[in-house]
Symmetry: C2
Subunit: 355 residues, 2 copies
């Protein structure tokens, strides 16, 4: 049976990418060798890394704008440390929109003062705070563009003169924004980019070398820039599959084209959540709703079992909400076909009709 994968991450990638990746595990580039057994310093893999970097800049519209692209290890969680260690000299400003922002704040506190400019903790993070002030003397401002757990998404980023740093793990490559407003963008691969194991970092070199502390080499962005993401062995396969996925996205028409489909998918599901009396959305302000992760609950818990039976029969997987929110979470990343969303909506309607 065909599966409809709404997993929050690691998550669905295009079937074409799975096919090409599987073939490369057996025979990469017709070399007679697996992608898993070649040196990261081989000509063929250096070409993969170069292509992954140039596709990243091209898709985000950041070519020739002074950005460095790195593929590191450790996930966004390692970036919580690295960015603070490399950028935080005295104090930094953070927007608290939930779990990931909180974790970023906790790690930053090991390196300096953190000013929480605003928080939506008062309502279990079911909205995005707005109209806050960013101290002009902070070293940088940090925010999380999309909160995977609560299903909120920043639609407009604050204007500030200080460097803007953004964790885009769960919505990078999903919508067109002016990416050049950011001094540092980072993203764990395992949503819209590729398999878990690699982490994308895009940064302007001009923000570096402003802290007085000594930084161990592996945690210093300069090391990775100098060695073009080969300071140590990169996660070869994850970078390769990310490259395949970015190539797929480019062939689909890039971010503008996928954004249109993503908006259609989100509109379809949210209108059913709002229409269907058995469901209610988690996010309180409708304009803060994420196009990537729709969070919703049953209005009556007695429908839990019949709903989950229907989901299972339809081959829908990965719909359980995070334990801190409960209910359901439909993650609709780039590779999720609109047909999967249509099917989910049908299941929600079936539940209503049966009761």
């Amino acid at each position: 049976m065909k599966k409809h994968n709404f997993s929050a991450g690691p998550s669905i990638l295009p079937q074409e990418v799975f096919k090409e990746a599987a073939a490369a595990v057996l025979n990469f580039n017709n070399s007679g060798l697996s992608i898993l057994e070649i040196s990261h310093r081989s000509k063929d893999f250096i070409a993969v890394m170069e292509q992954a970097k140039s596709l990243t800049l091209e898709l985000l519209g950041l070519e020739n704008k002074g950005y460095q692209v790195l593929f590191l290890q450790g996930g966004a969680s390692m970036q919580f440390v690295m960015l603070a260690q490399n950028l935080l000299e005295s104090k930094a400003a953070y927007l608290n929109t939930g779990t990931w922002a909180n974790n970023a704040i906790k790690e930053a506190r090991f390196f300096g003062e953190v000013i929480e400019v605003a928080s939506s903790k008062d309502k279990n993070y079911n909205y995005i705070p707005k109209n806050f002030e960013i101290p002009a003397d902070a070293d940088y401002f940090h925010c999380t563009s999309n909160n995977t757990i609560f299903g909120t998404q920043i639609k407009e980023f604050p204007k500030t003169e200080i460097p803007l740093v953004c964790d885009m793990s769960s919505d990078i490559f999903s919508r067109n924004i002016d990416f050049s407003q950011f001094s540092l963008i980072y993203a764990g691969a395992q949503k819209n980019m590729g398999p878990a194991g690699t982490t994308l970092v895009i940064l302007k070199e001009s923000i570096l070398n402003k802290v007085s502390r000594a930084i161990p080499n592996i945690l210093n962005y300069n090391s990775h820039i100098a060695k073009e993401s080969m300071y140590n062995t990169p996660a070869v396969f994850s970078v390769y599959v990310s490259m395949l996925n970015l190539k797929w996205l480019k062939a689909k028409g890039g971010i503008a084209a996928i954004e249109k489909v993503n908006n259609e998918k989100a509109a379809l599901l949210y209108s059913e959540i709002d229409r269907n009396s058995l469901f209610e959305g988690f996010v309180s302000r409708l304009d803060d709703r994420s196009t990537m992760n729709a969070t919703f609950n049953l209005t009556d818990e007695t429908y839990k079992e019949p709903f989950e039976t229907l989901l299972k029969e339809a081959g829908i997987s990965g719909l359980n909400g995070h334990r801190s929110v409960g209910g359901y979470r439909a993650s609709m990343y780039n590779a999720l076909p609109i047909e999967s969303v249509k099917l989910l909506v049908e299941v929600m309607q079936d539940l209503e009709n049966q009761n």
Copy 2:
């Protein structure tokens, strides 16, 4: 044409493992989903992680001896930092056997005093120093079991009362030693364990919590132990393929069986290096020669082109030496069949016969 892959790393893994990994990229455990799109918190992946851990302990003979097994990200290079940050309170003792030991020393110096107990730098690391003294008041002693670049290998580890910490990136799972003499063992996956992207750490919890510094969560071993290597999203595919490879090793008869083959392969190649007048080994003391990485040079550089033509014709790849040594390096990891070594020896003999 069949390739004979002598790459130093990422390096050869068994063909059976490549086949199973490729199949799982298309359909993992008959779930209808790719191994690349499933949640790391899914029942199926938790089982993979558990199996990888228990196979590790079983193969190394470390079951029920108080060890924790972690699969982290960042490579051995990240461990250079983490181990010092977690263990180094005042001073630590390091044995300098080359590039990787040097890098470990450099990172440790960010956290405290490093005492280099001995070094083979005087002879470009072509031997393993012996009969050095380890200060009894150091926080730990660190060594690199096998030097991939220079082709040296520690055959007997020093006795000491302080915790023994060892980077086994390039020879773990290749030979039987008493692994219980170590308090912390770590290894980047990409030689004898699996594809690049995951790093094995095996440690005794009793050595932790003895430093006074505050450690960011992602760099603190306690975080990863508490969350059973799921503190953040692990490198799912790399852990999965490592598990497949460890399962393969167990089916082959475990370390004892593979060590026998590894010794045969090494004996075959070294005896040809020593017999053939066109070649000479790089390592000066024969008992320090690595069974994993054999380093050698031509005695006369005029044979370089004809030798490399013969290698190419035979389908032998990955034989170039590291730039700091030059010449050739034959890496003979667990998965390299003895037939590949026999073929290399034939090529060396052909070169001699032709000249």
